[in-house]
């Protein structure tokens, strides 16, 4: 049984279909990149997988010990966060809240987990700093640490390198690679075909209205759509 299986999903809003017939599976330890043009519905797909939106039809199944709320999420930055007064520690700890039920304080284990994750991502020295005053790359690492507080099993990343400079982008992908090497399943939305092909084990390519390709990276690079898309990124197939 795979960790996540989507069967024949139809997605859309207000009765308008954006994507239809999406099927794919994610096994433990996979690194799946979801690529496609702007407006093809990648973010809608991601929100559906996170159960923030209900699909118009089709099924999302969880298995292999993955519960519905065990998907960590790295969203794109919102306007609200740009001037939000919060310390790094406050943000990272908030990742633990999904589990805490009605409890009103953090348990010792939660606090410990937050410190560990800040350590893992090298932001422990920034714990008392203000989130809005950090660089873009540092902010992304803070949100990554928060996602890790929610779960270690699966991470969903929505354009993790958006708005970062080339150095910070490379560093970000390297952090994600490390987490994946440590056994976290990764789902990533990306425009960056070069990075997708470099790091992913599987590719889901979404076109207008439907999925154009789903399979392993090597199959993708052999396929016509994969070759055409990879050419744009200047990658040898």
């Amino acid at each position: 049984m795979s960790q996540l299986a989507c069967e024949n999903l139809d997605l859309g809003y207000e009765g308008k279909t954006v994507l239809s017939g999406i099927s794919f599976t994610v096994n433990a330890g996979d690194y799946l990149c979801i690529v496609g043009e702007n407006g093809s519905g990648k973010s809608t797909l991601m929100k559906t997988v996170l159960r923030l939106k209900t699909p118009m039809s089709g099924k999302i199944l969880h298995g292999d010990g993955l519960e519905t709320n065990e998907i960590g999420y790295l969203p794109q930055q919102t306007v609200v966060q740009k001037d939000f007064p919060a310390s790094v520690r406050e943000v990272v700890r908030s990742g633990c809240l999904g589990r805490s039920g009605m409890r009103s304080t953090y348990s010792r284990a939660d606090k410990q987990l937050a410190e560990e994750n800040m350590e893992r991502l090298g932001i422990a020295p920034l714990a008392k700093h203000c989130y809005r005053e950090l660089s873009g790359g540092q902010q992304q690492r803070v949100l990554l640490a928060r996602a890790l507080c929610a779960t270690r099993k699966m991470l969903l990343l929505d354009e993790p390198a958006a708005g970062l400079d080339p150095k910070a982008t490379a560093e970000m992908y390297e952090w994600i690679r490390k987490l994946h090497a440590d056994g976290t399943t990764v789902l990533m939305i990306s425009h960056d075909i070069t990075a997708s092909v470099k790091y992913a084990s599987h590719i889901l390519h979404i076109g207008k209205q439907s999925a154009l390709f789903f399979g392993t990276k090597s199959d993708y690079l052999q396929s016509e759509i994969g070759r055409r898309y990879a050419d744009l990124g200047g990658i040898q197939t």
């Binding site: 929100k47 996170l50 159960r51 923030l52 519905t68 709320n69 998907i71 960590g72 999420y73 969203p75 919102t78 306007v79 609200v80 966060q81 001037d83 939000f84 007064p85 919060a86 310390s87 406050e90 943000v91 700890r93 908030s94 990742g95 809240l97 999904g98 589990r99 805490s100 009103s104 304080t105 953090y106 008392k128 203000c130 809005r132 005053e133 928060r146 996602a147 929610a150 779960t151 969903l156």
Partner: protein
């Protein structure tokens, strides 16, 4: 100077003034607590909108000759608060437009109703009535003991709510999508927040009136954000700022005879500018 002091001391012997001195800081405390998440969620104007709703409901209550207008005003305001916070998420009319729509609609409606039925209303002094609801006038000095108890009970409830759900309020303010994705029931917390906001606004209307409520909600939060950088400190600072400004406002207004509500707001504004300067100085010391 001596004169003002004696007037103040003398007025403190009145039980009405004493009651106002208990109720005002309590209301200031509640509104500033909620102000922080509201300002951060880009809902600064919800106070304004809801207070106009409360005004409209008050007008209907007056026309209906209800002895306790609270019974009508509170549920109507809560209903609109829920409507507004839900609308903000996904609808064709976006957050700010929805607030503007409900706000002016109920204001106009309330005034219209009061005007149409002014002969049947209890009060013969129509324009003074409207003025009092809009600007609070000196009604804070006419609070009954029951009002003060009600105020105290609701304040305790609001503070309890905030303490119990402090971390959750932080999470849904900072990133609602993440919170719901990782298993928090963000909708329920948003709903609770909406209800508490409505209650606080109906309470605060007695103090500063419908038009000035936003000031009590936004100025403490905005001032605290100039200087402090963690959520916890911003909340604490906003509460202290708000309570001090409210007390100072009342102490100024009693001997000078200025309207209580607008005096408090004026003190809040002065405090805001003070904090802006403090923030600038602080920044300069960190990055010279």
């Amino acid at each position: 100077m001596m004169d003002i002091w004696t007037t103040l001391m003398y007025s403190l012997t009145f039980s009405t003034v004493q009651r106002a001195l208990i109720a005002t800081p309590l209301i200031a405390l509640c509104s500033s607590l909620l102000g922080v998440p509201l300002v951060l969620k880009r809902f600064s104007l919800i106070g304004d909108g809801l207070s106009h709703v409360a005004f409209g409901a008050m007008a209907i209550a007056t026309v209906l000759n209800l002895t306790n207008s609270f019974l009508l005003v509170l549920p109507v305001t809560i209903l609109c608060a829920i409507l507004l916070l839900r609308m903000g998420q996904n609808s064709k009319i976006k957050g700010d437009a929805a607030i503007a729509m409900i706000s002016v609609g109920t204001l106009a409606g309330g005034y219209l109703i009061m005007n149409l039925f002014k002969s049947s209303a209890r009060s013969s002094n129509f324009s003074a009535d409207v003025c009092a609801t809009l600007f609070g006038s000196n009604s804070i000095l006419t609070l009954s003991t029951l009002d003060v108890w009600l105020c105290a009970a609701l304040s305790v409830a609001v503070v309890m709510f905030f303490l119990l759900f402090y971390h959750k309020i932080f999470a849904i303010t900072f990133d609602e999508d993440f919170a719901s994705a990782t298993g928090m029931n963000a909708k329920v917390y948003n709903l609770l927040l909406a209800i508490v906001i409505a209650v606080v606004i109906v309470l605060a209307m007695k103090l500063v009136g419908a038009l000035l409520i936003s000031a009590l909600v936004i100025f403490p939060a905005l001032s605290a954000m100039r200087v402090f950088k963690s959520f916890k400190r911003v909340v604490l600072c906003a509460v202290i700022f708000s309570v001090l400004c409210a007390l100072l406002g009342i102490f100024i207004s009693i001997p000078t005879g200025t309207p209580v509500g607008s005096t408090i707001v004026a003190v809040d504004i002065a405090g805001f500018f003070l904090f802006c300067i403090l923030g600038l100085i602080k920044r300069r010391r960190v990055h010279p």
